[in-house]
């Protein structure tokens, strides 16, 4: 029962899911991007017939294989957690995600069993063109297999194309295409995959920079740098566009998240973008404290990004919590009242069905339809509970954006000096190229922290808070598995880094 839920358990379950998802996302973006880079390298080999390109392809393919092998099945743990820790949520969304996720799993298995095998075992055993086709299929398939899980996440941020059925206690899909092509799902998929392309480019460029510093495998390193930095620059440009689109959809569909991303408490017309700032952690909605200890603002830019209009109004946390009649914004308090009516109507519907009073049941269900969109607010006790952790959301957003802006500059410089033939003499730039590998991972993780922490307190935005989505377990059980995972994940990460490092140190000759 909800009234018996221990909040500590909810937080441990959240921490465990965050740990698992963050660990899983160490491997996924590199797989998404490196698969395409390997396909590019091999395409050049097949086109030119130059054995140096084959050696180069096989080397990066080995690193791709190591990353894939260590990362494979780490996502399954999240499925376990859904069933154990998040059973209410899991049951409620089963109709929407169950079948597509299962189909995706089967598709990925057959893809991996066939084309992966050709990719790794098929050198000299199948024709060059079929081998190349297999490599491309692995790249396309790996990216497609990320589709539905990202659509699912997009749906959690902006639930659409469904209707809640109180008889089954499930959200049931009404319109498949609305779920698949929701603007949040599309921006989620394009932004996540393209950021994976960028990370893989940084990975290839960074390792190649290390070879140049070591004065080893220089031909391979220079060729890899050319391809990867061009791919990285194109990806970074696309990441910028998809990021802009993602911010726009957040502004339209999740205005509270946008307000937290920018630490914006009082809504403004021509709202400035905070380029950098120090959040005042003591600040609460509705009080008179300043939101920042210091900040650097760019006038009008937030309005432009949020609404494509530099003079437009962007609602702040206070507008969304307390309402703003002038701007026709309904506050969280009013939504809480509507949410409580929605829950009351559900109870009335169920009781009327039990007692056989079909007329009241039908009327309750019909009325519920008018209040459904605020159903989740009925679980909140105060409007301020609708505010996500502002500090984490703000810093995650800014870390992601700042690092994302550095990468194309570094790639551009590396490409420039490589084309001029003087890259090997720019030691500072080679070190910077290497530094971009860990920074790329930081940026990736920050992006997901922003997406998920910024969605709080919701598991499903506006419909189901995390406190109701979880199972009735004790916090001790979840704590035990949290530390168990921490140990296993740490060991696996050490294994991956040491195997990767060993292979990088060996270089392409031994492959």
């Amino acid at each position: 029962m909800v009234e018996q839920i221990d909040l500590t358990q909810v937080n441990w379950a959240r921490a465990q899911f965050a740990l698992t998802a963050m660990y899983h996302w160490i491997f996924v973006p590199l797989t998404l991007g490196l698969s395409f880079l390997v396909a590019f390298f091999e395409s050049i080999y097949v086109r030119t017939g130059n054995e140096e390109w084959k050696r180069l392809t096989k080397f990066w393919m080995t690193l791709f294989g190591i990353n894939f092998a260590i990362g494979v099945a780490t996502g399954i743990i999240m499925e376990f957690e859904f069933g154990t820790n998040w059973s209410n949520y899991s049951w409620m969304v089963g109709d929407i995600f169950g079948a597509p996720l299962a189909a995706e799993g089967i598709f990925a298995f057959f893809l991996e069993a066939t084309f992966f095998a050709v990719m790794f075992f098929g050198w000299n055993r199948v024709s060059k063109s079929f081998h190349l086709f297999s490599t491309w299929m692995v790249a396309v398939g790996s990216n497609l297999s990320a589709l539905w899980i990202l659509v699912a996440n997009g749906w959690m941020q902006f639930p659409t194309g469904m209707q809640f059925n109180p008889d089954t206690a499930r959200f049931e899909m009404q319109n498949f295409w609305e779920v698949l092509f929701s603007p949040v799902a599309i921006s989620k998929f394009t932004h996540a995959t393209s950021s994976g392309f960028l990370l893989a480019s940084l990975f290839v460029v960074g390792i190649s920079c290390w070879y140049l510093l070591q004065e080893r495998h220089q031909t391979m390193a220079k060729r890899s740098i050319i391809v990867a930095s061009v791919f990285g620059l194109l990806s970074a440009t696309y990441v910028g566009f998809t990021g802009d689109e993602a911010a726009y959809t957040v502004a339209q569909k999740q205005p509270m998240k946008l307000a937290a991303m920018e630490g914006l408490y009082d809504g403004q017309t021509s709202a400035p973008l905070v380029a950098a700032g120090l959040i005042n952690s003591a600040k609460l909605p509705g009080d008179n404290q300043q939101p920042f200890a210091m900040e650097i603002k760019i006038p009008g830019l937030l309005s432009l990004l949020a609404n494509r209009d530099p003079g437009s109004f962007v609602p702040g946390i206070n507008d969304l919590v307390f309402g703003n009649r002038q701007q026709h914004i309904i506050g969280a308090q009013e939504k809480i009242e509507k949410g409580k009516i929605a829950l009351e109507l559900l109870r009335t519907y169920k009781e009327s069905r039990k007692s056989g009073d079909q007329a009241i049941a039908d009327a309750s269900l019909k009325a519920f339809g008018d209040y459904q969109e605020n159903m989740g607010y009925g679980y909140l006790n105060s409007p301020s509970e609708a505010v996500p952790p502002v500090g984490i959301t703000f810093y995650a957003f800014h870390i992601m954006v700042v690092t994302g802006a550095i990468f194309p500059l570094v790639l551009l410089l590396i490409l420039y000096f490589q084309i001029r033939g003087t890259l090997a003499y720019q030691q500072w730039l080679l070190y910077l190229g290497m530094l971009c590998i860990p920074l790329g991972y930081v940026s990736q993780q920050a992006g997901w922290v922003l997406a998920e922490v910024g969605r709080q307190p919701w598991a499903i935005y506006g419909l189901l808070p995390v406190t109701v989505a979880n199972s009735n377990l004790t916090s001790g059980t979840v704590m035990t598995t949290f530390f168990l995972f921490l140990g296993i994940f740490t060991l696996l990460l050490i294994a991956e880094i040491s195997i990767l490092a060993k292979q990088i140190n060996i270089g392409p000759e031994e492959n």
Binding site: E81, G83, S87, A117, L343, N381
Partner: protein, 71 residues
């Protein structure tokens, strides 16, 4: 044809170097996940505690229509 495919895989596995270590990691990982974690730590809550979908739906409905009190 089937024998050729079988040989393709067996020869491929036999000629692996780094791959052997990776397969060992994959199998150990899958064993830990499915034979230990799933069995002992991650039972499906609704599958374990309720015998049919009707009971599961009733349980979830009951959960989501009770208002929280201890927050």
């Amino acid at each position: 044809m089937l024998i050729r495919i079988l040989h393709f895989y067996t020869d491929g596995f036999r000629s692996m170097k780094t791959g052997r270590k990776l397969w060992a990691i994959i199998f150990i990982k899958l064993f830990i996940m499915f034979a230990i974690l799933k069995v002992f730590f991650f039972p499906d809550y609704l599958q374990t505690n309720f015998s049919n979908d009707e009971e599961r739906a009733a349980h979830v409905f009951n959960n989501i229509t009770q208002l929280p009190r201890n927050k």
